[in-house]
């Protein structure tokens, strides 16, 4: 489903990834762990098609990303992946609902159904009443929930998250991870979460540890 084959990546003089191979099957739930500087975020960027690795290939759902143009990778990401990052970074001028609807609208759906689905998701995440609030008026936890909704509204095949709860307190973090896990397991969506936090990792089924740009264990995404 999601595969990296002998991926290598350097940022200038720094070697971020060295000969990294990883395979995540459909429906898998993986925590990608490691200290900062271990290369886990870089691996995520490669898997998401944000960055083209210097060596090796990345294959997503049978499609090889490394040969595609930036525009095509972008399109693929829009169609097949949901992304949640640490600070969410919703568009401040839009309401929560409008932010959540964006992926569907970008894919060409009509705003009526998109709106309905967005409200649904916000309800599942417990913030339906904030649908028309602006981003600046809600708390970090609420904004991050909206970010999760945004990542899932278009029913992607996989969700990639990079420290999604890093800026939150433990109660909020727990709630968001619960929601993320529940939603992805019910739809069979692959979930990959980059984190350095063991509590976060304990929400996921398997664990891959990285150190200094390579995978320590295990090599192929088997249960840790």
């Amino acid at each position: 489903m999601l595969e990296a084959r002998h991926v290598g990546l350097s940022y200038g003089a720094t070697r971020a990834l060295s000969d990294v191979s990883l395979r995540i099957d459909r429906g898998g739930s993986v925590a990608l762990m490691g200290a900062s500087g271990s290369g886990k975020s870089s691996l995520l960027h490669c898997l998401a098609g944000v960055v083209v690795p210097d060596e090796g290939e990345v294959v997503v759902g049978g499609i090889e990303l490394t040969g595609l143009s930036d525009r095509d990778r972008s399109r693929l990401r829009l169609e097949r992946m949901g992304v949640v990052f640490q600070f969410g970074d919703l568009v401040p001028e839009l309401t929560l609902l409008e932010n959540v609807m964006l992926p569907l609208q970008l894919l060409g759906h009509r705003s009526g159904p998109a709106r309905a689905r967005g409200l649904d998701l916000l309800g599942v995440l417990g913030i339906a009443e904030l649908a028309n609030s602006s981003t600046g008026a809600v708390s970090g936890g609420q904004a991050q929930r909206a970010a999760v909704a945004r990542a899932m509204i278009h029913e992607p095949a996989m969700v990639l998250a990079d420290e999604p709860t890093g800026a939150l307190d433990s109660i909020n973090a727990e709630a968001i991870l619960d929601a993320l896990v529940a939603m992805t397991t019910s739809t069979g969506t692959t979930l990959l979460v980059v984190t350095h936090d063991n509590l976060v990792a304990s929400h996921l089924q398997t664990m891959v540890t990285m150190h200094d740009g390579s995978i320590l264990s295990p090599a192929a995404g088997a249960p840790a």
Binding site: Y11, S41, S42, H45, A48, V50, V51, D70, R71, S74, R75, L76, R77, L78, E79, M81, G82, V83, F85, Q86, F87, G88, D89, L90, V91, P92, E93, L94, T95, E98, L102, P103, Q105, L106, R110, S111, S133, S134, T135, G136, A137, R150, A151, D162
Partner: protein, 633 residues
Amino acid sequence: MRGAVVLGCRLAIGTRGQRARSAMTVATSSVGAVVLLLVWGVADSQVGTTTAFNSTEVSILTAGTIGMVALPVLVLVATIARLSAAVRERRLSNLRLLGLSATQTRMVAATEVGAASAVGTTIGVVATLALIPLLARIDVAGPDLSTRSLLPPTLAWVCVVVGVPIVSMATTATPQRPSSPRLKGRRGDTGSVHPWRVVPLVVGFALCWSTRSPLIDKSATLPPLEVAALLVGIALLAIGIILVVPVFVTLVAALVLGLGRGPLATLTGRRLQTQPAAATRVIAVLMMGLFIVVGARGVMTAFLSSPQYTAAADFVERSQTVEVTASPDKTTSTADTLRSLAGVERVTTYPVLYAESVESTSELEDTATVLVASCADLTSEGTPIEGCSDSSVSMVGQPGFYHPDPEAITISAIHRNMPLREAMPVSMAGATTINTAEFEDAVGALSGTPVVVIPPDFPGVAELLPRTDGMVVAHAGPGRFLYDRVEDAGFRINSYVDLENYDFVQGMLTLVWTLAAVIISLGLLSFTVVGIDRALSRRRELTSLRLIGTPGRLLRQAQWLEAALPTVFGSLLAIAAGGYAGATYLQLDGDRTVPLTTALALAFIATVTSILLAWITTIGTTARLDPEHIRTQ
């Protein structure tokens, strides 16, 4: 204190972002300094040396001109200095935490910007000194652009060298609104747009409208109250169009959100809705420039269509004509002498007679000059002009004499402007009419006076000819030399065109167009810079949007629309208001209309340029997704 200054200087070149901002401050300060100095120099020399107005009016005019340019320049400098103010505020509050006092932190901020601004101003001063000799070489027919005339007075140097850095420093030293403690500084709530913003525009419009009452007696001057109302109205219009920007941005936003479908409309509409006042900063200078240009052009029309000016313009730009009277025996020799003068292309001679209306009923003397000429003598570009006749009398213009046209006149020979005794009656029945313009074209003299044309073969004319004076007209190409040469040859010229007025108006035109170019360039520059800065400060959410797969093209379009929409509307509003102001002024002076072509051309150019610039501001901002932007969280 010294520590604060040193820190400020250090901060100005610390990181790449700071260096970029400092570079922009240097650039705008130097550009601003050059502009101010040059405009001051030009204004001082063109306006200051005219005798058309008295000295107080001159100083007001000069000050007004300089002010009109200084304002946008200083607004531009201030806008640049205030860029990325949120970042600077955060850094400064960190300094406060370290223990610096409020005054010290303000000093640091002021130094950071002031140093860059001072460097920029110095560069500008040097650049001006280098530019002036270069500009002096440009040969423009009309105003004198010598080095001496371009050199600004000492006051200008002092004001600019001191003023520009001070303005930059002042904008940073003034305490800002405390920025939101959250990282997402921009709150999503719509900016409050009060209805009162519309008031100045409405009041200004009303005042201008009130002075538009038709003048019954055109020769009377406006009562001072009306003049004051007009001036206040125009000023309010100018302020009003800028104040009203947030209102129409909000309206545009509502329109976009209401009519639009899809993420592009949502994104653009919401962005416009959230910060309607931000658009003001971007396009204020541009709008001011357009308003001034269109309004001034309207005012200039009054000058440009005055008969003195058109005559002088015709003289200088198309064909010089000089009219000399010669006694009957000296006509030929006069003509020969004139023909021998350098530059004279042809010389025409016409005998002239004196005509008087038989029915002199009014108090005005109904007199006219009679030109004795056949159709062959009255040719324009080789063909006889329309209405000429070889057998009957012709009148030039309609009406020719003062109203009413007489049915009969008496003609007599004229010598040294004195009509001789014997007068011969001539019936005006069946008189043809000659077009005034064509007549002036063919003859090159006698404009502004009633003229009757009688062919030489007309019965009775031949007897008068030997005793009557002749009019000798010398024609030369465009230029200004003919008066001097004819006078040097010993002749007395009958009438002069008002070259003084011509020079003044030309100077004014140059000034207005220079101002136009300057202000509009400044406006566009300000627009571009603010646009880029805004795009840069949005980097994080743009990165986030790219991460979820939003195509870069859509983000660029949203950015472009957000900049272009207010600009287009603002430009159109400014041009319309300026046109209205200029038209109102013209309407007082007579029933003239503003030349629409200039206004429309300007509207088109402004729209296209702002669209282009809006597009340029998007180029560097949504480029490839850079992982570094994601990492710095």
